[in-house]
Subunit: 572 residues, 2 copies
């Protein structure tokens, strides 16, 4: 392809509202344009990279015996009502009426639809297992769309669904998808880790997230430096941190005017944070839930949800809810409080191992000192659970090794769904004994557009993107220093033809711009290799090949360019 | 691929609500499933064919220097309000609010969005021409979705948009797309004709529809048997039909009780239909429009719209509108009527060449006889225009040859848009003299899913589909008569490997079903070639190759299968 024919408007300035590097670079390099909040158009360069990711996904899915299909984006409300998710999905689901006032959603995912699709066709164990996937635009009405393609409202997703006769079959399907995902993200060139995760609103019994490691990631993960353990901190099981035993001192109330955060109290009373406890109050399924952790720990909302068997993600309790529960914001502790039908108290395990700590006195501008949970909490009337977030101060729950913390971009997730949807939607098959059983399901997602963004978050420098070869819009760019010089253009064309012939995905920058402009664009767009065709080298029948990743420049005989480029690309 | 692993549930019964052959066969052969009214899922076989059509479209678009992009499905209302189409599009446009009450539509087409996309990037004539396309799901809320994939509410479309500096450039872009479309539909194996058409709601100055000829088509076209002329009858220019001149007789009123159709009147008065005139009353842009054609002709609504310079498609006038205009339904003629600001009279050219004809007397249960339009109509106060539909009684307007009538499925359309959208959305560029000009646009659509349906409408028999090779889900199926016979399975596998090696898209039907079931499925699904591997032939080192299209069976040495199949496929 010729650069003069390519629609790739680059920008010299960093766009004002781009909040992460991948978004800035994709806008500057002419990969995407913003249409509205959370809505993007892919320009030719961006779409080429997306298609390469899609091709890798297809190959690996097909190799794993998954079959490609395409379901509608518009989904009738009825099937979501049957599964119970029409309400549960909340405001993130985009809903629409047709002219006859029938309700639909724009698919955020397709469990209900795929289950409905197969349930009338698969009747016998002989027809199982089946694994079906699609690559499609999905919709989520994010409250605050941000981070470019990483949290947009319309995004490209690969979603696959497996159907098996039993848990053993599901385990095999799951393993096969897990392996395919390893291959996909390896082939895309990402630095990533599969981590144990929470199954959230999708439901199910086991799940891994595939996390591209990057500072711009929204997920916090911990991983062991000694073994394979890695987990989203939402699910990472913290150990119990014991403090040195102390003799119980008497509970006392102290005045703490205006000190409504535990940091302010610790400061005022000159206490280390670990000698304090703090309260966070949630609303879960209409219940007010008081969560207590040590002052130096953070609450894991998902763990709190699990502890109270909540069906939806916790939300912070409103001032009205606090007041109704008789709680004084900023000054709460479980001392003297009791659970009821609409009020629960969840205390972290490590809190129970503290002595003479400071916490709220349940009245304004006052705290207790010398709280001893085992003495002062009604231990039969609270829930004790591991509800703090794991940190890199913890040890690996698998091997006791050292944990590290990292930020991750969730580019894929695999779920064991079990029979949640097949039971709700009556998707049964007859087993070998002629008895009906619900199909055992798994679901498997990859954020295709998010994978593109993640790659850029991982591979860039101050000059632009540094593409892994497999998903670069072009693998190589040829830059004749002067497009008006027919000698250079002829040499460039010869090299182009030879590379093209050898199946190298190559662009010839035949634009009449100055060399400096073309070099800048090449760096910004991030082609893995740049072949510079200049008078001085062509006279010696040579060109220069620059490797974007290392910056290294190699002089190469024109006759050897194809083999050299092919060789270099293998490592990129 | 192995048939035992393929998710392709076939049905023996014709589904009750399938109203055209393509829908029946795609449902029966396991290509699609219906999710809701006008919404379909593609199963693996259907999706394979769709992907083949998409690949052909991509190749021809890329060859024509169009570049693939992807715009969002969700489109902000603002840009549609700027172009004036937010209202004009009416109930067919699916509209949605996000959580912040911002309005969007689900893209039925993308003129507004593409114009908005390029207008900030293209500033100079040097950057033009540009042609951008995408292949994407589109949405139209049909009042009555029907005919399976041919009139569904969510469908796959390729839409391309060209931008040029002037009309001459547009002509070239248009020609290039026209040629690409010829290649695409030829390669897909369709029997089709490009026809002159009306540009409808999209607007613009010239357009061709690509019509797949099929009885199930919703469009009526005429084409010349002598020259290349072909037109949608909406736009086909009828000639003026002259009647033999007669001396004017006196206008008389006759009682025609309850005869409110022209057929009933002609019957009652024993007149041939061509000696009558009939009235159809429309509402266009809030104006009541009386259209008059000969009793044996039909009104062309689009021509009426053009005659009164209407901006929207005509609707039939309501009883209230008729009453308000003082018209007596069933008994209307222009005799004694006059136009006003909210009432227009449009008379077909051929009506003006009639003598002593019968028409309404503008009062209940009465008609005039001996109307002579040139005498009895106020010729200075009516619009005379060619507003009847062309028929195969007409002669070719190009060469005078004989016209034939056919039904067509519109699988593609190319439009010269001109500057309608670039002016509305201020998409200008600086010309060579530094002066701003609106870009001159074209747009070009292909119904990808509709093309699939059209191919089936054209190629099927009582046993199933007969795929053109290029878009068949598999090119060849290998059917071992008995999948439990290891000799047959080994021979089949060898043939499979050899064909696969030679890039033939082949399926091995390894299912343990009876041969009859597999043959029935092969015919229903419509693979172009079926290789039957049976004991009697394998013993002679031979197999039978059956051509689905002709039914012809060829005996072929196993060692020659690959070359024979490759040769046969070339003609299919």
């Amino acid at each position: 392809m010729l650069a003069s024919k390519l629609y790739a408007p680059t920008l010299r300035e960093v766009p004002a509202d781009a909040d992460v590097v991948s978004q800035q670079l994709m806008l500057r390099a002419g990969f995407i344009r913003k249409t509205a909040s959370g809505l993007y158009s892919f320009l030719p360069l961006g779409w080429r990279s997306i298609k390469k990711i899609e091709a890798i996904v297809r190959e690996e899915m097909d190799r794993a015996n998954a079959q490609e299909i395409m379901m509608p984006i518009l989904q009738p409300a009825e099937i979501w009502k049957e599964s119970g998710r029409w309400k549960a999905y909340g405001a993130e689901m985009m809903r629409i009426h047709d002219r006859h006032e029938n309700e639909y959603c724009l698919g955020p995912t397709h469990e209900e639809m795929i289950t409905t699709l197969v349930k009338n066709e698969i009747n016998s164990y002989r027809q199982l297992p089946v694994n079906l996937y699609q690559i499609q635009s999905k919709f989520r009405d994010e409250r605050r769309p941000r981070y470019g393609l990483m949290r947009s409202r319309e995004f490209i997703m690969k979603d696959a669904y497996s159907f098996d006769i039993d848990e053993k079959g599901l385990d095999e399907s799951y393993k096969s998808m897990y392996d395919a995902y390893m291959n996909i993200f390896n082939r895309c060139g990402l630095t990533f880790r599969p981590v144990e995760a929470d199954s959230g609103a999708i439901g199910g019994s086991g799940t891994h997230e595939f996390m591209a490691i990057a500072d711009a990631g929204e997920a916090d993960i911990v991983y062991c430096t000694a073994c394979d353990y890695a987990a989203n901190i939402e699910i990472g099981k913290p150990g119990v941190m014991k403090q040195d035993e102390e003799a119980y001192k008497d509970l006392e109330t102290v005045d703490t005017p205006h000190a409504s955060t535990i940091e302010a109290v610790a400061d005022m009373l000159n206490l280390p944070l670990e000698k304090t406890i703090k309260a966070v109050v949630f609303s879960i399924d209409g219940k007010v839930v008081l969560a207590i952790v040590r002052g130096d720990h953070e609450v894991n909302e998902i763990a709190v949800q699990h502890a109270v068997l909540g069906t939806v993600e916790p939300e912070m309790a409103t001032p009205e809810e606090l007041e109704k529960a008789g709680l004084t914001a900023g000054f709460i502790s479980p001392v003297g409080l009791h659970q009821s039908d609409d009020f629960a108290i969840v205390v972290d395990e490590s809190v129970m191992e503290t002595y003479n700590v400071c916490g709220g006195a349940n009245k304004k501008d006052a705290h207790y000192i010398n709280i001893n949970p085992k003495r002062d909490f009604d231990v039969d009337d609270i829930i004790i659970a591991p509800i703090r977030l794991i940190t890199d101060d913890d040890v690996c729950p698998c091997c006791g090794g050292t944990l590290e913390h990292a930020k991750g971009i969730e580019v894929g997730q695999v779920f064991k769904l079990g029979t949640k949807y097949s039971e709700a939607l009556q998707a049964t098959f007859l087993d070998q004994n002629g008895r009906p059983n619900p199909m055992v399901m798994g679901c498997y997602g990859i954020g295709v557009s998010r994978t593109l963004a993640a790659a850029i978050e991982q591979y860039h420098d101050e000059n632009g993107i540094i593409w892994p070869r497999a998903i670069a819009p072009f693998e190589t760019v040829i830059v004749p220093i002067n497009a008006k010089d027919s000698v250079l253009m002829e040499a460039s064309q010869r090299i182009y033809d030879a590379l093209h012939q050898a199946d190298v995905d190559v662009l010839l920058d035949d634009r009449k711009d100055r060399a400096g402009v073309k070099f800048k664009d090449a760096d910004l767009i991030g082609y893995p290799l740049r072949i510079t065709v200049s008078k001085s080298t062509v006279e010696n029948d040579e060109v220069e090949i620059q490797i974007r990743k290392s910056g290294e420049t190699i002089t190469c005989a024109i006759g050897m360019v194809t083999s050299k480029v092919t060789e270099l690309l293998q490592d990129l």
